[in-house]
Amino acid sequence: MANLKEVKQRITSVSSTQQITKAMKMVAAAKLRRAQDRIIKMRPYSQKLTSILDEVVSAMGGELEIAYAEQRPVQNVLIVSMTSDKGLCGAFNSNIIKATVSLIEKEYKGKNVTILPLGKKAFEFFTRRNYKTKTDFYEVFTDVKYDEVRTIAEFAMNGFISKQFDQVVLVYNHFRNVATQDITVEQFLPMGGVEKLASKKITTNTDYILEPSKEYVIRDLVPTALKTQFYKAVLDSNASEHGARMTSMDKATENANELLKELKLMYNRNRQAAITNEILEIVAGANALEGS
């Protein structure tokens, strides 16, 4: 059995670790709130954009030709893999990396795959191994801003248009709630749902003037919608990260608590045993003296 001093040392070390995990949990909670705020703030924008897009599409009357929706035989693939910059957030990063690797090894086997890591963890993983990467943007998560995210989306979109990539896929953690993140593999390009868009019936009877022309407006709106979609995924991943960290730190704090309980029990038991021993010795000594 461990001696008193050792147990006491362990108690101090566990409780100081617990303080750290508690603080990290609190920080993650605050960051999560900010991340969720961002999602809420962008909602009016994306809703309005969708509604305008619907109006314009219905005004087009089904003749829709969008370069971003062009289906080509898939040979060159870009996978955008979104992780976090820092660890200590449970399986958040390893899930994404696993999902990305399985995409490369199964679905896109034999294809020319480029990986665009976002977040330091993915960057470190994929650059250290023999993967083809594009690493200009991996630092987005230090400060998530639409303006920066937009350039990443534009890179992917330009790559698609210039036939550098035939397909662009996003791999990220979808934020379901604080405790649950869903690994999501989402096709970014070619754009899906165009047929659905085109077949939408006219919903309003407002007759819009479209300036400068229908075609121009749609050509302008579609990229914006795509960029918004990309931004949404990044925000989602960001919120998920803080949610995951919060949950895992909460669990760590709980575990530390349990460990402390056990250690305290052990400490007290040891202390008792020591005292009993001492008394025994004294009594035995006294007895011996009496006997002589």
């Binding site: 961002r38 703030k41 924008y45 937009r150 003037i209 479209l210 400068p212 302008d220 914006t224």
Partner: protein, 82 residues
């Protein structure tokens, strides 16, 4: 009075009543006054200006789209510089 809302994906830049607003349309700037016809217009890079009770204000935007309908204007800007 016209209800004007300017939003970017990051924040709401302005929301309030204006008496007129001028936008940098893709083919030249245009002004929206009371009871303007419903319009959806793509915007280029340029200055958006509007007159509120407190006076004239302006922002520089980097592209976007504006919708005008029933005296309500919604401007979706990708980026507002200042």
């Amino acid at each position: 009075m016209i209800q004007l809302t300017i939003i970017t994906p990051d924040l709401k830049v302005f929301e309030g009543e204006v008496s007129e607003a001028t936008f940098p349309g893709a083919n030249g700037s245009f002004q929206v006054l009371n009871n303007h016809a419903a319009i959806v217009s793509a915007l280029g890079k340029g200055t958006v200006s509007y007159t509120t009770k407190a006076g004239k204000k302006s922002h520089i935007i980097d592209g976007g789209v504006v919708e005008v309908k029933d005296n309500k204007i919604v401007l979706l800007a990708e980026k507002v510089i200042d």
